[in-house]
Amino acid sequence: MIATVIFLLCCLLSTARILSEAPRPSSLATGDIAQRSDQRFAAVKAALPQRGVVGYVGDPGIPALGDYYLAQYALAPLVLDHSPNHSLVVGNFMTSPTSRELPAGLRLVTDFGDGVMLFAAKDAR
């Protein structure tokens, strides 16, 4: 019986962690990362074909891969190939996009703001 009581107390300790780490009602209003990403890409999505494969360029480095995954999630069923070698290329930049040089071989078609851009290959019509 003592073992059962100790067992229960240990479990209740962890239940305290479950409760303490649960999001507070006040934090629910901020929206989650995927929801914000869906909103960020809503405008460029309307300018892209409904399906097929387009290119993708974004910030360099491993941490920016998450931004690529979010862009793909927002734009599905369009496939985003992480490469600039396509006639249409989605740009996704988190930091100071205005001062950034355009990727070589691409021309800016539309800047949708908030770091989201649409490029076209210079040799494409």
């Binding site: 059962t4 962890s14 995927a34 793909q72 999630y73």
Partner: protein, 483 residues
């Protein structure tokens, strides 16, 4: 409204499928809970398979297909169900022998833990409607979006251009989500969130109800408390990953095997393949949920074959076949579906892409040592418990309470323990040959792999331990379900 109707349709399909494997018996309270929890998982499995087949065969009237499946199941339910009595030996407390204070403490703790888990799950779901963590929207919900939004081009989502989205992962979750979305006409975030929620609490309900039948109410409550107070179970359960759904199917397979073997031990004269067939379906559900489930399916089949050969006299082939064939027969249709998906739709996985490098890794002792160290660390850490690891608490409880001298469902327990050990060995082998950096891979997946077998481990632990009934002075009882 459409969501509620779809949910009713799903539960009806699941209920009828589970009913096909059950006898025509009057449901008792704990059996009712067991069947409802199984119905959730099996219903989602049916929804997933129906949606996938509808895409393959270009059926656009999904509701008509659903109704046809429902009608078939209904016909099977009334025509094929057996009326054989099922006799199960189980622990039943005599309420008078359980100290009142302990009973009250257990009930209060169970209620507290359940409400805390429900509260945390709801808050986490509201805070992260698309799922909490990269895998939710880079794998599972992304695949669901491709299936739903892609129309006739749904295969685009399974292109080698997106290797990070693991396009070779099976489709139980994404196709079930897309099925709901098709009924709704939009890709509401409520659907994957609700499915995650259902899987989480159905796993807890399944654990409680199966332990209640086979062990008694005290171990059932202890098991339920152990699972629902595991912080990472609630975190993962609401993250919209596939690990908790997989844990559901692993537990369902093991619980049904134990029910079957308990019945076999108690009443070998009556043939009753229902539980075994449902166990096969549950194992196939695991394989249709995640690649690790395929590993578990192989492990359970191997363990079952070992058990059958060990426990039957040589030469008695018919008896052996009866204990394996229903399991395999029920798996077969889903395995065909998985084989088609892997062969014709999904690009090859990355695990065996470089045989020379794989061999080199297999003979590198440093990799073995690294995995062993992480397994030991993970054993104590994976639940994200506060202060005292749950695994340590259970080891302490084992030494304090002792092992059941003659646990019920012995054959089922042995088979299940062997299957879980083989599954963990399989995970070990995958880490050995992983094409990724081994430390990165261990860091980001090992705790989830342990979580996959955690509900089943709790189930087997409380079946084997001398806890509830003996501790509280209760004895065992035989319950017979008459037609």
């Amino acid at each position: 409204m459409a969501l509620a109707l779809s949910a009713i349709l799903l539960l009806s399909c699941g209920w009828l499928l589970v009913g096909l494997g059950w006898s025509r018996q009057a449901p008792l309270a704990s059996d009712l809970l067991l069947r409802v929890c199984l119905s959730v998982g099996f219903g989602l499995g049916i929804f997933s398979a129906v949606f996938f087949l509808s895409l393959l065969f270009h059926f656009t009237r999904l509701m008509l297909v659903d109704l046809a499946v429902l009608a078939l199941l209904l016909a099977g339910f009334f025509v094929l169900r057996t009326s054989t009595a099922i006799t199960i030996v189980h622990g039943a407390e005599k309420e008078g022998n359980v100290p009142a204070w302990l009973h009250r403490a257990l009930t209060a703790a169970f209620a507290l833990v359940l409400f805390a888990a429900l509260y945390a799950a709801i808050m986490r779901t509201l805070a992260h409607p698309h799922g909490d963590g990269w895998d939710a929207f880079s794998i599972w919900n992304l695949h669901a979006r491709f299936l739903f939004r892609g129309g006739i081009h749904w295969r685009d989502g399974f292109t080698p251009l997106l290797p990070w989205s693991h396009p070779d992962y099976p489709l139980l979750l994404p196709a079930a989500v897309a099925h709901f979305w098709t009924h709704l006409g939009n890709d509401a975030t409520a659907v994957p969130a609700l499915i995650s929620f259902l899987f989480t609490f159905s796993t807890a309900g399944l654990l409680y109800s199966a332990l209640s039948i086979l062990g008694g109410r005290v171990p059932a409550m202890l098991g339920g408390i152990a699972l629902l107070s595991t912080p990472s179970f609630i975190e993962q359960g609401t993250s919209q990953y596939a690990d908790v759904p997989l844990s559901f199917f692993i537990l369902a397979t093991i619980a049904l095997l134990c029910l079957n073997d308990n019945r076999e031990q108690n009443d070998p004269s009556h043939r009753y393949p229902g539980f075994l067939a449902l166990a096969g379906l549950a194992a196939a559900g695991a394989a249709w949920t995640k690649n690790e489930g395929l590993l578990f399916l192989c492990a359970i089949v191997a363990a079952r074959l070992v058990g059958v050969v060990r426990e039957n006299s040589f030469g008695n082939w018919m008896a052996r076949a009866r204990q394996v064939v229903p399991l395999l027969a029920a798996m077969a249709p889903v395995l065909l579906l998985i084989a088609y998906f892997k062969h014709s739709i999904a690009p090859p996985g990355d695990l065996f892409s470089d045989p020379a490098a794989t061999f080199h890794k297999l003979v590198d002792p440093a990799r073995y040592w690294a995995i062993i160290k992480w397994y030991v660390k993970g054993f104590f850490r994976f639940g994200h418990w506060l202060l005292i690891p749950g695994t340590l608490v259970m080891i302490g409880f084992y030494f304090a309470a002792g092992k059941e001298a003659d646990p019920k469902s012995q054959a089922g327990i042995r088979t299940s323990v062997l299957a879980l050990i083989l599954t963990l060995i399989g995970y070990f082998a995958v880490y050995l040959i992983t094409p990724y950096d081994i430390y990165w891979h261990l860091r980001f997946s090992l705790t989830r792999l342990f979580l996959q077998v955690w509900p089943s481990s709790i189930f087997l632990f409380f079946l084997c331990i001398k806890n509830g009934n003996d501790m509280c002075g209760a004895d065992t009882a035989v319950r017979e379900f008459e037609p």
